[in-house]
């Protein structure tokens, strides 16, 4: 029983980290069709933001609280610059955005290496989060509980924004028809920029969370980006709900298979499952327009 709960928790915890890393992507990739490989580096930037804030403030607790909004702004600003300088001109070439943003991610990684050095750095945990807490008689790391809660808050907040606010309505309108939205007076440029700002900002927040469970290095982003994309692909385009289910599923599967085998084999099995899943529900299908194929 204790093993089951701790495994279950480990799976959900991994899922929540994946989701935090992927939720911004499900906005920018899912809603806008931009494949932003630099999203991982925005996460990395968020992590280094947490590190820097802690260097300045000193106190682990206050700096954690302060670095969440700061990292959101840092990630968002990076995303905004990327959108305005490059992606804005490439919405009709989604595959090429992938490679362009890969170039950006190379540059950001090297920047981090030149500023902070190649060896990894550690962010101190606040006292409160460093020990275990007991859930249903099972001790689990408090930092992971914190991440789980943070993820729930972020996702709930984002769904609220997407469903209730004017940004959400405008985003959905632009996704459905750029031209129609423009014609009804929605500036698709401003909506794109704002959506990208929010999506990238969430990457920054994910970065802060990740400092709580591991050390920070310039290649931090590459560890998460592939899995984050898998979550979005398996979850379905533009579906925050889908991303939640996919992240939880992938997290649980990974932990489940790790239990019987090793982490690396589990990773391969999970990938095979995603490919098999796409056999049943191929999200890649672009619905064929029957009156014309062009």
């Amino acid at each position: 029983m204790e093993i089951l709960i701790s495994q279950l928790f480990a799976g959900l915890s991994l899922g929540s980290v994946l989701l935090l890393a992927a939720v911004g992507l499900s906005l920018t990739f899912g809603q806008m069709g931009v494949i932003n490989m630099a999203h991982g580096e925005f996460i990395m930037a968020g992590a280094y933001t947490a590190f820097t804030v802690q260097q300045i403030l000193g106190s682990a607790g206050w700096s954690l609280l302060a670095s969440i909004p700061v990292a959101f702004l840092v990630g968002g600003a990076l995303g905004l610059i990327l959108e305005i300088a490059l992606l804005r001109h490439m919405y009709h070439r989604p595959l090429d955005t992938l490679l362009v943003t890969f170039g950006v991610s190379l540059i950001l990684q090297q920047l981090a290496r030149d500023i902070f050095g190649a060896p990894s750095v550690d962010v101190r945990l606040p006292e409160l989060l460093s020990g275990p807490v007991t859930i249903m008689g099972t001790p689990v790391p408090a930092a992971r509980v914190f991440i789980l809660v943070l993820t729930v808050l972020v996702v709930a907040g984002l769904s609220l924004v997407m469903n209730k606010s004017s940004l959400g309505r405008r985003t959905r309108a632009v996704v459905q028809s750029r031209d129609l939205a423009e014609a009804s007076g929605i500036s698709s440029r401003r909506t794109d920029a704002l959506t990208f700002f929010v999506g990238s900002g969430l990457a920054g927040v994910a970065g802060v969370a990740i400092t709580l469970i591991g050390s920070t290095s310039p290649t931090l982003g590459t560890t998460y980006i592939v899995d984050a994309f898998l979550v979005v692909v398996a979850g379905g385009i533009g579906q925050i709900r889908g991303a939640v289910i996919a992240a939880a599923g992938l997290g649980l599967l990974q932990v489940f298979f790790e239990f019987g085998t090793t982490a690396s084999i589990a990773k391969v099995i999970v990938l095979v499952i995603v490919v098999a899943f796409l056999q049943i529900r191929p999200q890649g299908i672009v619905a064929t327009r029957t009156r014309g194929l062009a």
Partner: protein, 387 residues
């Protein structure tokens, strides 16, 4: 077969003059380096003279090894040009096939060296506390089996995976992401099995290839010549492929996959075949990389090296015949030159290349001359009009 086409429509149907339209550079199948038979022979001939005669005569042993390494990487690029440039499939995980070929070859060579030294299992395995040779290794002990595995395993994997993905019409970004995830999983798998693969250290320190001493300089020159000949053969094959009906069909699938379906072809089959050929080229490149460079490790095959293969292809012109090879060699060369002098500058430069070439010159350098030529013709037309 219906014998005759129906009667000719009345003469009043003389078609209206074709409207002029400039096609975007990317979709152009042809660039400056796509050539007719004479041009292709010329290109292959010049390449053969440079690689098979000039290079061995002028370069030092070190220089030749370095060039051999570039040529192995260029083999991956030829395949990427085929699937990405002609087939429109952004294969971001070619490192997997490169790695499969390389590791099969490296396992065979390690085993051969071990036998020569009179040992029963490789040193790294002993260090990992293994005393019996794993079965996976035993398979590739025979050179013929090893070579067959280099060809069959990667093409088999590519065939299965390609068919699973393409027949469900998963395409575009989804295919790209899956292929990238494949590269990530493969690297993780290699690192995670230190007993079988020596983990992140990789396999290295090879002394012989099929009984030939690799430290002998004549043998190394012969090895280089083999590598060069293989690359030239691949170029000849792709040249024929591009002008063949299969090549035309592939472009048709890239541009209008659904329409091809209504001509009775299965686009998934066309795409899978192209993907398998690209995997084969990458695997051969990997297998030759091992004796030439002397080491293979997960650092050469993961997500980042897999994407790095793409930049040379993009610079040279993804849809052209020679562009991918030339671009790949140029990038490899620039990489070694710059990285040895200013390591961090090279990374910035590489990043900038991706941004500038893909963002602003999607047809690659090949499209620059095409662009200039087009501008020239439009200027001539304008002149004629004003006259």
């Amino acid at each position: 077969m219906s014998a005759a086409a129906p009667s000719t429509p009345s003469t009043s149907t003389t078609p209206t003059p074709a409207g002029t339209r400039t096609l975007p550079a990317v979709t152009e199948g042809a660039g400056v380096w796509t050539t007719g038979p004479r041009g292709a022979l010329l290109g292959l001939g010049v390449g053969a003279i440079l690689l098979l005669v000039v290079a061995p005569m002028t370069l030092s042993g070190f220089g030749l090894d370095l060039l051999g390494r570039y040529l192995c990487m260029a083999m991956v690029a030829v395949g990427i040009g085929l699937v990405w440039g002609r087939g429109g499939m952004l294969a971001m995980g070619q490192g997997v096939y490169f790695g499969l070929g390389a590791y099969i070859m490296a396992m065979h060579m390690t085993l051969a060296d071990t036998t020569l030294e009179g040992e029963s299992i490789p040193t790294f395995m002993r260090q990992n506390g293994v005393d019996r040779l794993p079965e996976l290794w035993g398979i590739v002990q025979h050179p013929v089996v090893a070579v067959a595995a280099v060809v069959l395993v990667p093409t088999g994997v590519a065939g299965l995976l390609g068919w699973a993905i393409f027949s469900r019409r998963v395409k575009g970004a989804y295919f790209a992401i899956l292929s990238q995830a494949l590269a990530a999983a493969f690297a993780v798998l290699i690192i995670g099995q230190p007993v079988l693969t020596n983990g992140s250290n990789g396999l290295s320190n090879f002394h012989s290839l099929f009984g030939w001493d690799l430290s002998d300089s004549t043998n190394r020159t012969i090895l280089f010549l083999v590598v060069a000949a293989v690359l030239l053969t691949m170029l000849a094959v792709t040249w024929q492929l591009y002008r063949s009906r299969f090549g035309e069909l592939l472009v048709a699938v890239r541009d209008q996959e659904e329409r091809v379906r209504f001509l009775g072809y299965d686009p998934a089959l066309v795409k899978t075949v192209a993907y398998m050929i690209a995997a084969l080229f990458a695997a051969i490149g990997g297998a030759l990389f091992v004796p030439v460079v002397g080491i293979i490790s997960p650092a050469d095959i993961g997500v980042v090296p897999s994407i790095a293969f793409l930049i040379g292809v993009a610079i040279g012109g993804r849809a052209t015949w020679l562009g991918p090879v030339l671009g790949s060699i140029a990038v490899s060369f620039a990489g070694t030159q710059l990285a040895s002098v200013f390591p961090s500058f090279w990374v910035y430069f590489q990043g900038l290349l991706f941004i500038l070439v893909i963002g602003f010159l999607p047809g690659g350098l090949a499209s620059v001359t095409g662009f200039l030529r087009r501008r020239k013709t439009s200027e001539t037309i304008e002149m004629e009009v004003t006259r």
